[in-house]
């Protein structure tokens, strides 16, 4: 990770007096993958459009690679690729012709475009069907063509708005693999999605949008910690366990009998080593010790349940 590539301060968007995005602050580092999460209408897409300069902010500032997307849109757009939700292509053109068009808009020469296009199409596994009309493409193929466009443009930042929306599990996995390639190449990725396992597998940090504000920004572990101090569940099975001694292990917040025998230990971190040592030292015979971290899905649900209660 190096410098900050996206920086938004007090970013606000109002439509007819109604605040859709209410003064968000956001920084994204180079090479980072940030997930934008939140219910529909929380302000994720509007924020993305403001970052791209496609929608003017009512207040606040945005800097993409140190530039204002409203004042220096060409420099910003050259470095930022965008894949909208349900990406649209010209159905009467082939996949290759669609890419050639955007290559011309991006100022690529014909030879440069061809070379990049072939590589990108191969990478998204569309080279064989590149000369077929886009009208014959499935939804997943269109999304992959959208990613091919981003690969062809060699952007430093890619913004993906619901890239897996409406795709079957196989297409989702294929797309996921391609998106992971972006992060491996060191491209900064902003991804908005409702598929939390997708986000968890790609993103180093997540930002949770709630009613136009960012309610939380941090790693999935930090989110789990925030919604529940005891975000680790350790399943313990041993003979002659003294629950009182287990309770005294630093980091343990609760010890309860497990549903299928044994014990369930709630802890702030992975303390399996300490637990094992305590049980063995107190003469217990350890049979099983499994730790489960609270997943992003569970943490997300708890976060918004809390937010609802607070509201």
């Amino acid at each position: 990770m190096s410098g900050i590539v996206i920086e938004a301060k007090g970013l606000t968007k109002q439509y007819s007096g109604r605040t859709v995005v209410g003064g968000i602050d956001l920084t994204v580092n180079e090479g980072e993958a940030l997930g934008l999460l939140g219910p529909n209408g929380a302000g994720k897409t509007t924020t993305i459009l403001m970052l791209l300069g496609l929608t003017e902010a009512s207040a606040g500032t945005v800097r993409i690679l140190g530039k204002d997307p409203m004042r220096e849109p060409l420099s910003v757009k050259r470095e930022v690729g965008y894949l909208p939700d349900q990406v649209g292509f010209y159905d009467n053109l082939t996949g290759r012709e669609n890419l050639a068009y955007t290559a011309r808009l991006g100022g690529l020469t014909a030879s440069e475009a061809k070379e990049r296009m072939d590589k990108a199409l191969e990478r998204v596994n569309l080279l064989q069907v590149a000369d077929r009309r886009v009208s014959t493409y499935s939804r997943g193929m269109r999304q992959r063509l959208g990613l091919a466009e981003l690969l062809m443009r060699r952007c430093r930042i890619v913004i993906l708005d619901e890239p897996t929306s409406g795709l079957d599990p196989q297409s989702t996995n294929e797309l996921l693999g391609i998106i992971q390639q972006f992060t491996q190449d060191g491209t900064t990725v902003l991804i908005s999605s409702h598929l939390l396992d997708v986000v968890q597998s790609i993103c180093t940090r997540v930002a949770l949008f709630n009613s136009g504000r960012i309610g939380f920004i941090g790693t999935p572990d930090e989110l789990a910690q925030r919604v529940d101090k005891a975000s680790f569940r350790i399943e313990l099975e041993a003979d002659e366990v003294d629950p009182e001694k287990v309770r005294q292990v630093p980091g343990v917040t609760a010890v309860e009998p497990g549903p299928t025998g044994g014990w369930q230990v709630a802890a702030q971190s992975d303390i399996r080593v300490e637990l094992a040592r305590t049980i063995v030292n107190s003469g217990g015979k350890l049979k099983r010790l499994d730790a489960h971290r609270m997943g992003l899905g569970e943490a997300y649900t708890k976060f918004f349940e809390e937010a609802r209660h607070e509201a």
Binding site: T45, T55, K77, P84, Y90, N92, Y101, L105
Partner: protein, 317 residues
């Protein structure tokens, strides 16, 4: 603050893509077929009429465009009626079609300004109209040479070219109107219907509406004969709101060198004039210059409306 780079970056890429789309589209093929059939029929009828009625005429070639034989109208009348359809067909889904296909946000995320998208679409349409009309014009010239058996004079060609340019401008007004409607209305079908309604009103009903409006605005006073002139001038002014009227006047002046005026002529003005003597091409153009300027202005106003609306539009798809 000065904008970065040029707003025309990517303009030609958009224009050529639009032109290619139009040229290969079924709707363009249908429109061209309609235009070619109508034009061909009008010319064929005109040649038959010219052969029957004209013994000697120095402007025989131009008569190809203006002479009609019942029940067919002249070539120029056909153009005045059908070209708006071509302009509408090329522009009614220019912007809202991009929304419908969900391509606009992806295109605007490329390193280009919105200006290039809208202007490129207009330019692409204009290019196709120009290609279609030049082809038609060349066909007319060829048919004229072939069937009349005489070559056009230099003056015929000059007038024909001026007419061709005016025709391109006339079609561009309708193209700008349909693009403006495609920017304002999100449904392509609604934009097309609205454009067709405007075309019907301005091309068919306007000639009925303008006398009624003039009568209401400037009633005749039996004791004041000048009110007849006032009412006529008002009617003419109202009728000139329609591009079809302007185009009709331009066609009449350019294709008939003996025409001397598009308004009322008084006996005093004819003093010293050689009745039936032709005007030079330049003089004819000078007479219809306000009409040409009016059409160019209408095109610019309509395009500016589309431009301002498009620049302010929220792009979410």
């Amino acid at each position: 603050m000065k904008r970065e780079g040029t707003p025309l970056r990517g303009l030609m890429a958009v224009a050529f893509k639009e032109a290619a789309d139009h040229i290969t589209s079924a709707r363009m093929h249908l429109m061209m077929l309609l235009l070619l059939l109508s034009a061909g029929a009008a010319v064929y009828a005109a040649i038959g009429q010219i052969r029957q009625t004209t013994a000697q005429d120095p402007y025989l070639f131009l008569k190809l465009f203006t002479v009609a034989r019942e029940p067919l109208p002249s070539f120029a009348s056909f153009m005045g009626f059908l070209l708006p359809l071509l302009g509408i067909a090329l522009g009614f889904d220019a912007v809202n079609g991009e929304y419908g296909r969900r391509t606009l946000s992806r295109i605007l995320a490329q390193p280009i300004y919105r200006d290039a998208v809208l202007f490129g679409k207009f330019l692409g349409g204009l290019l196709v109209i120009a290609i279609a009309l030049v082809t038609l014009w060349l066909l007319m010239m060829g048919l004229g040479i072939l069937l009349l058996g005489l070559p056009p004079s230099g003056d015929d060609v000059a007038r024909g070219l001026a007419y061709l340019l005016s025709t391109v401008v006339y079609a561009s007004v309708w193209l700008a109107l349909s693009i403006a409607l495609s920017t304002v209305l999100r449904s392509a079908a609604t934009a097309a219907l609205t454009a067709l309604a405007i075309w019907l009103i301005l091309s068919v009903f306007w000639s009925m509406i303008s006398p009624l409006a003039a009568q209401a605005l400037v009633p005749l006073d039996p004791l004041n004969p000048i009110t007849v002139l006032w009412q006529f001038e008002t009617q003419q002014a109202i009728s000139r709101i329609s591009p079809a009227t302007l185009y009709g006047e331009i066609s009449a002046m350019l294709l008939d060198p003996t025409s001397r005026s598009v308004g009322p002529v008084f006996l005093g003005q004819l003093q010293g004039a050689l009745i039936g003597a032709p005007l030079s091409t330049f003089q004819s153009i000078l007479i219809i210059w306000p009409q040409i300027s009016g059409m160019v202005a209408a095109m610019l106003v309509l395009f500016t409306i589309a431009y301002v609306i498009f620049q302010r539009q929220e792009v979410r798809a």
